[in-house]
């Protein structure tokens, strides 16, 4: 296989990771560090790698940054690039930062970019954003497909090393459903360095078992409530030419009765000056590269160790033909005092009792002890405990439904158990390779007063970024504890958060992108509205026609024309999104009495009432016209946005406070299409369509409802008006909505009327001073505040919110609904603008809630909530507009037909 790295061509073997292939090609320099741009090689051999981050470019949008070279599988023709360097990896001008290191200590950003305040947004942030960050984010939209699957199992085993394989085999033998996942391409974990017949046999048995699901290249990245585990499966990234039908990645959401975590342990580096040069790596990583991949990291090694692992590593490296120049055991009093070699280590300096020695080498293996991977255990709610023998945290408290086995449970051979290794913090001794945090930085943070490890982490950034401190956390804890004269358990442990390793947005989003990102609700008339060029607005998930511009019309012109149609002849409006709830039962009227402020007992069947609903706190929650269809049946309408909330609110009281009431609630929002026909010719339009129903002013006065048919279709016809004109609302079953709309449209044409959208509807209602809940009200408004005190059923002993209306602060001077007019009839106020008494007085009296031009009353109008507003009618106040204050005159909130004569036409 061939691949390129930074444009140069190299060979690889099947099964190689990019890091293994580069090492076999004698390439150690793989990246530049984040802050100081120091040359870096590979530190680890797996998912914990902090340094060797690369970009894989498959062309076009398929360019992925920040992939770990130790995880990326090479395929034939792969194009890989290093990151965070200009112009080249060998010569990076960013490395000047390294010379400035004395001036870039921990917390540098916080100290340096403080002043002046204005410079932050203009200067510092853009500069830091350019300089910081690791890879280049792709600029094109992702063209790959991602899928998601749900799965259930009896046992989910995470990790397929010896402990995980044993657990899976044992569970499978009982015939239960098992899922075994591993982040690597092959199953076996540490056994992969010594492939054996036994491993092959064990794996074959698991693959052959139909009750066992084997998922390789699959990372368990998070444990969520009640044993729900997120798995990210990489399906095609390792393939040179994936089948187009395959998703790139697959998210598994696995609900497991029992989780067995067999995540293993991660080796710790050693902290000494110059420990970050390319060629200095973890001992186990060196051994894995040499034995599993046949990619010796060099020919002449120095092994530095703080535990017995070092002897094992030295033996295994020697068996791979590597000369061991020296095995330096820190327990024997040695210290590492420095290293040399610009782009790759060439020698290491050691010291014992003042005797210094420089040893030439071409790589260094560090064995600093092992840290159990307790990330998933901790995410599941386990409280780890510190094991001084291991020098790390191990699972402590029990977690229901979860077991840790093997090295991640602290179960490791005695040779691997090492306390926290001694540190030589002189010079540039790195603790966190990815964030360029040195031992000195951590000590500085403690000198500056940071005590909690969480604060030290945020201040120095140790343990952050894509590797989340997998190799650095314990060493950092040890240094901070030492500096504070405390023990590691006293310092505590930073929180393990999901994901364990980075997960792509694509995997998490799955198919929820583009048109599938968010559900859209459309009315039965939507296609018609689209065909007529309607401009839509989003109201909740609904698409509502806002206005219907004709050729050459802007919004203002179109809305003014639509308003005129309604006032002069007739307009039709799609009101299907209104919430509808059928309230039915012998106690329906009693229920309505308790839920609404209005009185319902005496409302006769066939009549309607404008209902107002409060929360128990006394503030307006929703409103809508309610028709009484029969003694035991109400057709309730709610605001478009409030439909679900109102039904849930009603259902709560019905089930939990008044279970004795015989009443049932059913959502009918989507069952009825609603067509508002409004204007002086509304009755003329509908007359021939209602199959003989008498809809005369006498038979069907304002606020009445009849059930009948329209063109043979079941119909509920309401005589109601939200425009101030003679008006009807035609309810027909949703399936017939479009056909009935077309029939009404034909009639409307006869009278030179037309369709209008939500914007004209808003203007028309504001001219009449009708409120919109959520626009005039904001959850702190009583019925009286918006002039609806009249709607309260005075004889009722109780209703939801009644008691609160007499609480202190609910009466007396409050903000009240008023109208506003400007001197210039063309000036449209800004909705939300604050109002004061004078230009000099800056105390807000209230704010503008609605403001419109394009009205039918000859001037702009506005509604506002103003302190003691009704007493201020006639006064002049100031509206604080973006370009200065504007005088306004306070009026009653009704600008059109205050007597309501047109409603009763």
């Amino acid at each position: 296989m061939r691949f390129t790295f930074d444009g140069a061509d190299y060979d690889a073997r099947p099964g190689d990771t990019l890091a293994a292939a580069l090492l076999r090609n004698k390439i150690h320099l793989m990246g530049r560090s984040f802050k100081y741009h120091r040359p870096r090689g590979v530190l680890a051999s797996g998912a914990e790698e902090p340094n060797a981050l690369v970009e894989i470019d498959r062309g076009g949008a398929r360019r992925t940054p920040n992939l770990r070279a130790t995880v990326v599988e090479v395929f034939d023709g792969m194009v890989a690039r290093s990151q965070n360097r200009t112009p080249s990896l060998r010569f990076d001008i960013g490395a000047v930062n390294d010379l400035l290191a004395p001036f870039l200590p921990a917390g540098f950003y916080y100290k340096t970019f403080m002043w002046p305040v204005g410079a932050w947004a203009r200067l510092y942030e853009p500069m830091i954003r350019r300089a910081a960050g690791l890879g280049r984010a792709p600029e094109l939209a992702d063209t790959d497909r991602y899928t998601q699957r749900f799965a259930h199992c009896d046992v989910l085993v995470i990790g397929s090393g010896p402990a995980g394989l044993a657990a899976a085999t044992e569970a499978a033998a009982t015939g239960i459903r098992v899922i075994l996942c591993d982040e690597q391409a092959a199953f076996g974990g540490s056994l992969l360095s010594d492939p054996s017949e036994a491993l092959a046999t064990q794996l074959a048995a698991l693959f052959a078992n139909p009750r066992v699901t084997m998922l390789s290249r699959t990372t368990a990245f998070g444990i969520y409530g009640d044993n729900l585990v997120g798995l990210a499966e990489r399906v095609t990234d390792h393939l040179p030419d994936p089948h187009p039908a395959l998703p790139r990645e697959r998210l598994w959401q696995v609900r497991a009765k029992r989780i067995v975590v067999a995540a293993g342990a991660i080796e710790r580096p050693l902290v000494f000056p110059g420990n970050d040069r390319p060629g200095i790596m973890l001992g186990d990583a060196a051994r894995i590269f040499a034995r599993r991949y046949g990619a010796n990291p060099g020919t002449n090694a120095v092994v530095v160790t703080a535990c017995d692992t070092g002897a094992d590593v030295a033996r295994d490296l020697a068996a791979s033909g590597i000369v061991i120049a020296r095995l330096v055991d820190l327990r024997e009093g040695f210290r590492v005092t420095g290293t040399h070699g610009r782009l790759r280590v060439s020698s290491i300096e050691i010291d014992r009792g003042g005797t210094r020695e420089t040893i030439a080498c071409d790589f260094v293996a560090m064995c600093g002890g092992w840290t159990p991977s307790i990330h998933l255990y901790s995410q599941a709610g386990g409280k780890p405990r510190f094991d001084p023998g291991i020098g790390a945290f191990v699972p402590g408290t029990e977690v229901t439904g979860l077991t840790c086995v093997g090295a991640c449970a602290g179960d490791m051979p005695p040779a691997y158990r090492a306390g926290v290794a001694p540190v030589n913090a002189e010079g540039r001794a790195f603790v966190d390779w990815q964030n360029d945090v040195t031992a000195k930085d951590l000590k500085l943070a403690t000198r500056e007063g940071f005590r909690s490890i969480e604060h030290v982490k945020r201040y120095t950034t140790t343990g952050m970024a894509t590797d989340q401190g997998k190799t650095s956390n314990i060493n950092a804890l040890g240094i901070v504890a030492g500096a504070l004269g405390a023990t590691i358990p006293e310092i505590g442990l930073t929180t393990f958060r999901t994901p364990y390793t980075p997960v792509t947005f694509g995997t998490l989003a799955g198919l929820s992108r583009g048109d599938l990102f968010d559900p859209v609700r459309t009315t039965p008339m939507h296609e018609w509205e689209m065909a007529r060029g309607a401009v839509f607005e989003d109201v909740g998930a609904w698409k509502r026609a806002r206005y219907y511009p004709r050729q050459g019309e802007d919004m203002h012109t179109a809305v003014a024309r639509e308003c005129r149609l309604v006032r002069d002849t007739v307009g039709m409006f799609d009101a299907s999104t209104l919430g509808k709830i059928e309230v039915v039962g012998p106690d329906a009227a009693e229920f309505m009495n308790r839920v609404y402020i209005n009185a319902w007992t005496k409302l006769a069947p066939g009549r309607c009432r404008y209902g107002v609903m409060l929360g128990e706190n006394g503030f307006v929650m929703d409103d809508g016209v309610v028709g009484r269809l029969a003694q035991d049946r109400f057709h309730v309408t709610t605001t478009t946005g409030g439909a679900a909330r109102v039904l849930a609110f009603m259902e709560d009281y019905r089930q939990t406070e008044w279970p004795e009431l015989r009443v049932w609630l059913t959502s009918a929002t989507e069952q009825w299409a609603v067509i508002a026909v409004q204007g002086p010719r509304a009755r003329d339009v509908l007359m021939p369509l209602v199959d003989g129903q008498d809809i005369s002013a006498v038979a069907m006065p304002h606020m009445s409802v009849v059930e009948g048919t329209m063109l043979g279709i079941e119909m509920r016809l309401f005589r109601v008006s939200f425009s101030g004109e003679l008006g009807f609302e035609v309810n027909v079953p949703a399936d017939y909505g479009h056909a009935i709309w077309e029939a009404i449209w034909d009639r409307v044409q006869v009278y030179e009327g037309g369709a209008y959208g939500t914007e004209a509807m808003h203007v028309l209602r504001a001219e009449k001073g009708f409120i919109i809940v959520g626009q005039e009200t904001d959850g702190t408004v009583t019925p009286d505040d918006v002039g609806l005190g009249w709607a309260i059923g005075k004889a009722k002993k109780d209703f939801i919110g009644k008691r609160s209306l007499t609480r202190s602060g609910m009466t007396g001077p409050r903000r009240q609904l008023v109208g506003l007019r400007t001197d210039d009839p063309a000036t449209v106020l800004e909705e939300g603008a604050q109002i004061t008494a004078t230009i000099e007085d800056r105390r807000p009296l209230g704010h503008v809630t609605s403001a419109y031009g394009g009205t039918t009353v000859g001037h702009s109008i506005a509604l506002a909530m103003i302190e003691d507003g009704r007493a201020r009618v006639g006064a002049t106040l100031q509206v604080r507009m973006p370009n200065g204050a504007i005088p306004v005159h306070v009026t009653a909130p009704v600008f059109y037909d205050p007597e309501g004569a047109r409603l009763d036409a």
């Binding site: 409530g225 849930a648 259902e651 406070e657 008691r803 609480r807």
Partner: protein, 80 residues
């Protein structure tokens, strides 16, 4: 995502439910007879325990029923 035991439907995923706040609050039979403080407490005073919390849930995307559960707020687990 948690599993929530609906007494009617059994264990279902948390997204099928809505939270209903502290359980056991009863609306006063005669709100007009309550004092300012009593009504204020009914409206706004809620427990915020570290430990056992009796609370309401509704299986809104299932059977629609309200029911009460005890949850340990330390472990975020329901106690049968």
């Amino acid at each position: 995502m948690k599993l929530i035991p609906c007494p009617i439907c059994g264990e279902r995923a948390e997204i099928e439910f809505t939270y209903g706040g502290q359980a056991g609050l009863t609306r006063p039979a005669d709100p007009a007879a309550t004092t300012e403080a009593e009504w204020g407490a009914f409206l706004y005073a809620r427990e915020n325990p570290k430990g056992m919390h009796r609370e309401r849930w509704r299986h809104i995307h299932g059977c629609g029923q309200f029911f009460n559960l005890t949850r340990d707020t330390v472990t975020d687990r329901f106690i049968p």
